[in-house]
């Protein structure tokens, strides 16, 4: 179906203030959506209470309202403007909640304004754990066994049935407040009590914890014709148990066989098609048992999210822009790939590089805060790095954190010894990746680190390569360093300053730079083009790398 010509004006709801767990990703999606609709000749009216955003720049929309995100503001806007439709999926949970509130009060109906790109019932089903579980049961998708408990005794009974480890998730609390893991019986009573008290309706979900399983995310797009494509696969370096917003994540998935991936793809498509009737973006999370590759669905978010912003940047595929076009009636096969401008938007991006996203925490500003990572997101931002191999992307990410890290090495180097380190990395904390590298430098085996952290050994083997190169560099002065070693270091993401600090001789960053330049080791620039160079790209963006 082509564009719905009865839509002349659309209201986009922004996400309001930037808070932990919901940040500038919605500014990105809102801006993209506004641009996408305006190029179709549709008038865009925008509301956001946060003026410090790109989307509220006067040139982004036809009319911008800097008003509190509440129903009074919505009503005012609807009174002042003829608005045909509202697109609430670009402003995160804040926009959706406001949209739902207005829906319950009959405001949209009163002003003859349609909801587009969303199915409120689908959102409810996705968010209500019990409804989600029931739907998955009906369509034959496995989820972690769980029970809703309304009393302490009920909770205890279910806990015994399900077995440890468990997760306690209180109902209707924001961002996982009051929830937590229960590793054994001794922790149960306190956790259950805390959870029930945190819930305004005295209700918790007692769920089997799949700690140590590998975590994956798929970003999908679906149109009105039920065509579905997978835009990006993301693998969490940290196993289940750490909030995805606090996990180091990698795209595309690094350790998935085709058999395992296609099973995930099939399930994600089935889930998305069974979840109401909407056109737009969606995110599905899975956990996989590494022993036998069994997978369970963790959650589905039928809207543009933090991960879709990442997936857009990671693949070059503008998810929010296309999602906005799907909301006004286009089908995927009627749209062009925005990067090549000649091929179809109905396709699945292919990557020939590796993306590493690393969260940025600010625990030094929150004195006394518990810095153990878990169900509740604690990072205040994130960096995304691109490389032609995992190590390059990982080290670039470390270099971009705007702290003292100049790569994976050389950052507040730990004085802990082997045994201590192995113990320390058992608990996920902000500096775990750096301590893992310290442990590998000291000769701790990959196997012990896998046991301590549950992190997939493939990533650890890669980090081991960084350690080997680092040790090798330490054996040399800049002058006697073999050209192959310098090249290998650059290919693996070592920065010039990092190398200057590692070599035996007193050396500056500039000296390393001059030396490698004289040897012809220079940056080359590659494109993020959605298609692994298969087609010519018209509007790609670039990243730098080193080729051997």
């Amino acid at each position: 179906m082509p564009i719905d010509r009865s839509i002349h004006s659309v209201l986009i709801i922004g996400s309001g203030p930037i808070i932990i767990g919901q940040a500038c990703e919605f500014d990105y999606s809102g801006s993209q959506a506004a641009r996408s609709l305006r190029e179709e000749g549709i008038k865009v009216i925008l509301i956001n209470s946060n003026p410090a955003t790109i989307m509220t720049d006067p040139m982004m929309a036809d009319k911008v309202y800097l008003l509190p995100l509440n129903v009074e503001s919505i009503e005012q806007i609807l009174q002042e403007n003829q608005i045909d439709a509202v697109l609430p999926t670009m402003g995160g949970q804040t926009a959706l909640n406001l949209c739902k509130e207005a829906e319950e009060l009959g405001i949209w109906e009163k002003y003859n304004c349609r909801l587009i790109g969303v199915d409120v019932k689908a959102i409810d089903t996705a968010e209500d754990r019990d409804q989600f579980r029931q739907l998955m049961g009906r369509i034959g998708i496995k989820v972690a066994p769980s029970h809703v408990a309304n009393s302490f005794l009920e909770g205890k009974e279910f806990a015994q049935q399900i077995g440890f480890p468990l997760v306690i998730r209180p109902s209707f609390t924001l961002g996982g407040t009051g929830g937590g893991f229960v590793h054994d019986k001794s922790e149960l009573d306190a956790a259950l009590k805390r959870g029930l008290e945190a819930s305004p309706i005295h209700e918790v979900l007692v769920e089997k914890a799949v700690l140590g399983w590998k975590e994956f995310e798929l970003e999908l797009l679906r149109d009105k014709n039920d065509n579905v494509v997978i835009i990006c696969t993301v693998e969490n370096l940290d196993p289940m148990g750490v909030h995805t917003g606090d996990s180091i994540t990698v795209a595309p998935a690094m350790t998935l066989s085709d058999t395992a991936y296609q099973e995930m793809r099939n399930q994600a498509i089935l889930m998305m098609r069974s979840l109401g009737n909407f056109a737009g973006g969606c995110n599905v999370q899975f956990a996989m048992n590494p022993e036998n590759e069994d997978i369970i669905a963790v959650e589905i978010n039928p809207r543009v999210s933090r991960s879709s912003a990442l997936a857009s940047k990671a693949t070059g595929y503008p998810i929010a822009k296309i999602a906005a076009k799907l909301a006004i009636g286009y089908n995927l096969d009627e749209l062009k790939n925005q990067i090549t401008q000649t091929t179809s938007a109905y396709f699945e991006p292919a990557l020939d590089y590796v993306i590493v996203k690393m969260p940025r925490w600010n625990f030094d500003k929150f004195k006394g805060a518990n810095d153990t990572l878990g169900l509740q997101m604690k990072s205040v931002g994130e960096v995304m790095a691109i490389g032609r191999c995992f190590n390059e992307a990982l080290q670039k990410a470390c270099q971009s954190l705007e702290n003292d890290a100049v790569g994976l090495g050389y950052y507040g180097k730990s004085l802990m010894k082997n045994q201590e380190l192995t113990e320390y990395i058992k608990t996920p904390k902000w500096d775990r990746i750096f301590r893992i590298k310290d442990a590998l430098m000291q000769g701790t085996t990959v196997k012990s680190i896998v046991q301590a952290t549950g992190i997939d050994q493939w990533f650890l083997y890669q980090i081991q390569k960084i350690c080997t190169i680092e040790k090798e560099i330490k054996e040399h002065t800049l002058d006697d360093m073999p050209v192959e070693l310098l090249k290998e270091a650059k290919v693996n993401g070592f920065s010039d300053v990092q190398i200057s600090k590692l070599v035996k001789s007193q050396t500056s960053e500039d000296e390393v730079y001059d030396k490698r330049k004289s040897l012809g080791i220079s940056r080359v620039y590659k494109m993020v083009d959605t298609c692994s160079a298969e087609f010519e790209a018209k509007t790609p963006y670039f990243y730098s790398t080193f080729e051997g």
Partner: protein
């Protein structure tokens, strides 16, 4: 250190370009037509796909070998590609269910591979200049000598390779009591195509590529299947003749990839050598009958000439490629015969198109 101590290797293209990289696994010298695959999963299935016979394959994905190899993840008994080119080939892997590493597999399967290549630059070059022959060598350092060896590599156009990879002996698969009996013409069939048919209750007899129509008939089949395979379909007049006889019988016929091209040839539609082909797991196809779309697995360097299909009174186009409008599926009007250019069995790839095997089963019931 990996690169300091690993032996080096060269990659030479027919047009004279030379790339230097590291040897991975088996040492030696190989030649073949260079092509690239953009898929991000399923490397082992790709390496063992008989349709790749005679080709040296670039894997565009940044890391290859991450999850090792597994006995079951194959499309034929052995590796079929002539050589492998990648940016990062991994000797250490992670998969509990795997049987070994890609490195050992390359050794075992005599696969000569080169790593450390700027595959992105190489792919862009092939995309612009088109398919050409190439050489990988871990032993030849003299470029003149390499050039001589490369010149001996035959051109893919006009090359008949199906006979080489087809089964030598007939064999049967599936439930002998099944009412659905399929005579399969094996031009280099992928294991999962056969599995997709036996999973739907079909009883198969798989025949060598040059089997006569009379012999195919002796199985008393309810339908015929024309398999995928390597090489130039125009170099297979024997198969075209057999397919003409099959069509005359008016029984259900289903063709995949090379089988699709042969079905076209049997209807006097010409095939052609593509500039650099389609190989990957993300090719968009629209089904013109239902209006729905599917993401498909593709692996072909030849295609059917669109104008000749468009103007053919007895052929209906059922599927088109959304990227370049190439012909992806045809149906013979007034006959139960259809074929697709892509791979509905996938492996590796999305399962969006497996309904075609159901269609075939329905056609025969």
């Amino acid at each position: 250190m990996t690169s300091v101590n690993t032996p080096s290797a060269i990659l030479m293209l027919q047009d004279g370009h030379v790339f230097y990289g590291q040897s991975f696994g088996k040492t030696g010298t190989v030649t073949g037509e260079i092509c690239f695959n953009t898929g991000m999963t399923g490397y082992q299935e790709v390496f063992t796909d008989p349709s790749y016979t005679g080709q040296v394959l670039i894997m565009n994905n940044a890391h290859i070998g991450n999850y090792g190899v597994k006995k079951e993840d194959v499309e034929s008994k052995s590796v079929t590609i002539n050589g492998l080119i990648a940016r990062n080939l991994e000797s250490k892997y992670s998969r509990h269910m795997a049987d070994g590493s890609l490195l050992d597999y390359c050794e075992e399967q005599n696969l000569v591979a080169i790593a450390g290549i700027d595959t992105r630059a190489l792919v862009a070059h092939i995309r612009n200049k088109g398919a050409m022959n190439c050489l990988i060598s871990t032993e030849i350092t003299d470029l003149e000598e390499a050039r001589k060896v490369l010149n001996d590599c035959p051109d893919m156009a006009g090359l008949e390779l199906a006979g080489m990879v087809s089964t030598k002996e007939e064999y049967e698969l599936g439930d002998p009591a099944s009412p659905l009996k399929v005579s399969v013409l094996d031009f280099g069939v992928k294991q999962n195509i056969l599995k997709c048919m036996t999973d739907r209750g079909m009883h198969l007899r798989v025949h060598p590529s040059k089997t006569s129509f009379k012999r195919l008939q002796e199985f008393n089949p309810t339908g015929y299947f024309l398999s995928n395979g390597p090489g130039d379909p125009a170099a297979m007049p024997y198969a075209v003749e057999t397919i003409k006889e099959i069509l005359a019988e008016n029984k259900p016929v289903f063709g995949i990839c090379l089988g699709h091209q042969l079905l076209a040839l049997a209807n006097n539609i010409a095939t052609f050598k593509m500039h650099h082909g389609h190989r990957g797991l993300n090719h968009p196809v629209r089904n013109l009958v239902t209006g729905l779309c599917e993401i498909t697995t593709q692996n072909h360097g030849f295609g059917v000439v669109p104008e000749e299909v468009n103007n053919h009174p007895e052929i209906e186009i059922t599927h088109v490629n959304l990227n370049d409008n190439s012909i992806e599926g045809i149906r013979v009007k007034n006959k139960p015969a259809f074929s697709v250019q892509y791979h509905p069995e996938a492996t590796p790839g999305p399962h969006d198109s497996r309904y075609l095997f159901d269609d075939f089963a329905k056609m025969m019931s």
